[in-house]
């Protein structure tokens, strides 16, 4: 894929180029949207909204960075906006320290596949889920997360630590269950 040519064609509203760009990134971006939401339908909604933003703002991409990274950031922002706007996510998205899950230093080995791990991440409370995704997967710093979500940097840090601990507990349990099943089958 010649990125510059594709971009120019998209800017000229060439339908085939728009479709090519979409198809190139849609698969991985739906994975991203899936991690931030609780259902596939919501993930597809975010993907749709995100791509509309991508195409409408493509002229703002100056070509110096990686197009994939630019689209990825738009998708993350769109997902966060979606969570904020949808009432079913709003309560769970509050970052008040109500449910204080214990912090753990465990570091389990990840033998889960991508889908299984993503499903565990999606089971986290939405606030934890969002911060975990942003920090652990997307690589945002806690300062950046604080700015985007409108919370204090410290809140982001503590929420992340608790999300991580909760996830590790589930991963350990899941791994143990998987091992038990494996031995039982043997």
């Amino acid at each position: 894929m010649d990125q510059n040519k594709l971009l120019n064609d998209c800017l000229r509203h060439k339908a085939s180029a728009q479709r090519e760009l979409y198809e190139h990134f849609a698969h991985s971006m739906l994975g991203l949207c899936y991690r931030y939401t609780k259902s596939m339908v919501d993930a597809e909604d975010v993907l749709q909204e995100g791509f509309i933003k991508v195409f409408k703002n493509l002229h703002q991409f100056n070509g110096t960075g990686e197009l994939g990274a630019w689209i990825r950031r738009i998708m993350v922002n769109t997902a966060i906006n979606y969570l904020k706007s949808e009432s079913r996510y709003q309560y769970d998205l509050s970052f008040a320290e109500k449910n204080l899950h214990p912090v753990s230093d465990e570091n389990p080995e990840l033998i889960l596949n991508a889908k299984e791990l993503a499903d565990l991440i999606r089971q986290l409370p939405t606030g934890y889920q969002t911060i975990f995704n942003m920090h652990a997967v997307e690589g945002y710093t806690h300062v950046e997360i604080g700015k985007i979500l409108g919370v204090h940097e410290g809140t982001s840090k503590s929420q992340y630590a608790r999300a991580r601990a909760l996830l590790i507990t589930w991963i350990s349990r899941n791994t143990l269950d998987n091992k038990t099943d494996m031995y039982a089958r043997k």
Partner: protein, 465 residues
């Protein structure tokens, strides 16, 4: 295992995560992003077509309607027009018959016309976008919530049905008028199809042969011409002959425009005659221009326009040139067409100018999608024709065909243009004011008359090549 190794593992796993979205997502995206494109085309015609119609109408008006002589001439020529029309009709009928015969000869009637809609295989690549958030340094549109209208994407995908016209079915109903008509249509369609294919093939062949030799040429041209843009402009509004920017004058006096030695001063009490006031008339302009960007928000442009100005005055009846001596003892204008003073008819004074506008354009906002541009400049104009009447206060008549001294006109112009994109081209539309710095007449009486124009300007800028 250190803390960041867990994150590293999670990141690697999540980079592998991906799903194929259903086609409904793309359909909704496509519909939304190309909605503007589809909306802009009617918008273009909404502005362009009325401008074109107005220009055409004005041209017709100028050429045929306004002059009393022309009206009289037209009234005397209805038979000629009729004959012309009937001859044209005969010609076109003949032509149609010939075409039909040719098509019938060239095509066999047993061809099936099948329209196939190509089906698209939606193959999706699984290449991951692995860029990190900090890498790009771009402006990734940190959209506020609800800033995009979400359309329900649960739409049924549209299916284009293919239509097959079975000639055998039609043959079986020979003698049936409907089938006969259908057959003819099929033959015509296939003939047209063949013709189109032929043309396309020829075009492609020509293209291939020319393309290679043109590549090098194009490259050089691209580098040279990329800084200039070509545009077309048009506009319509009202015009007048003003004393100041917004004050219309009360008749252009012939004495003011004439050397005092050659023409006697007005009578002792010229104000006893009340001449007509000049009222605004229709005006339009059309032309082309080139534009060059000096910086991101400043550009200059130069062009060539045709500009039609008009203004209206009230006059009395048309006088007989032979009876001019009954009105005035000054024989300088003897033999010219003249109109008596009065209110019985409206006379449209027309000025046809060729103008060369030069302007500096300043973009007032930062938006590339909806730029607001202030244009200010001068245009050098030349009056190529006019039919203005000049009032003679001594004789209380309006003299026609008087050649006013200032054919060269320098106008100041300013416009506020609102731009928007039409496909890959840019359109601008906005109000424009133009005022003649040069008076129409050489005079010291403070009433030289200045051409004034106010209207809506439309510019269509072709993309850079």
């Amino acid at each position: 295992m250190r803390e960041n190794e867990f994150e590293k593992q999670v990141r690697e796993k999540m980079d592998q995560l991906g799903f194929d979205p259903p086609d409904t997502v793309w359909n909704a995206v496509d519909k939304e992003i190309n909605k503007e494109k589809k909306r802009r085309i009617p918008l273009f015609w909404l502005f362009f077509l009325p401008a074109l119609l107005m220009a055409g109408g004005a041209y017709y008006f100028v050429e045929h309607k306004s002059s009393p002589d022309a009206i009289a001439k037209n009234l005397q020529r209805p038979e000629l027009n009729k004959n012309q029309v009937s001859q044209q009709e005969l010609k076109s009928e003949k032509k149609d018959k010939n075409t039909e015969e040719l098509i019938n000869k060239r095509n066999k009637p047993d061809e099936n016309t099948t329209v196939q809609t190509p089906l698209r295989n939606s193959q999706r690549t699984t290449a991951g976008a692995s860029g990190q958030s900090g890498e790009s340094g771009q402006n990734p549109v940190l959209g506020k919530s609800n800033d995009i209208v979400i359309e329900n994407y649960n739409q049924k995908s549209t299916q284009t049905e293919t239509g097959n016209v079975n000639k055998n079915d039609l043959d079986s109903t020979t003698g049936n008028a409907i089938a006969g008509l259908a057959t003819n249509k099929t033959v015509l369609d296939s003939a047209a199809g063949k013709a189109i294919v032929g043309i396309t093939e020829n075009k492609n062949a020509k293209k291939d042969s020319v393309t290679e030799s043109a590549v090098a040429k194009n490259k050089n041209q691209k580098a040279k011409s990329s800084r200039w843009q070509i545009g077309f402009t048009g506009g319509a509004g009202v015009s007048n002959i003003n004393q100041g920017l917004f004050n219309s004058v009360k008749t252009l006096n012939i004495t003011a425009a004439t050397n005092a030695a050659a023409y006697p001063p007005p009578a002792a009490n010229p104000t006893s005659y009340s001449s007509s006031e000049i009222k605004p008339g229709f005006s339009f302009q059309a032309g082309a221009y080139v534009q060059r960007n000096l910086s991101r928000r400043i550009s200059i442009s130069a062009g060539l326009n045709y500009h039609y100005y008009s203004a209206k005055i009230k006059t009395g009846g048309k006088g007989n040139p032979a009876s001019y001596s009954n009105y005035s003892t000054n024989l300088s204008f003897a033999g010219r067409t003249f109109y008596q003073n009065g209110n019985s008819q409206t006379f449209t004074e027309k000025y046809h100018l060729i103008e060369m506008p030069v302007s500096a354009n300043f973009q007032l906002n930062k938006s590339n999608r909806l730029p607001i541009i202030w244009e200010i400049g001068l245009s050098l104009g030349y009056i190529i024709g006019n039919n203005a009447l000049y009032y003679d206060p001594n004789a209380n008549i309006y003299i026609a065909n008087y050649q006013q001294p200032n054919r060269m006109q320098v106008n100041a112009a300013s416009s506020l243009m609102f731009g928007f994109h039409l496909h890959k081209n840019e359109m601008q539309i906005g109000p424009q004011l133009q005022y003649g710095l040069t008076g129409l007449l050489n005079t010291n009486d403070g009433n030289p008359g200045h051409l004034f124009y106010g209207g809506l300007k439309i510019s269509y800028i072709l993309p850079k090549k």
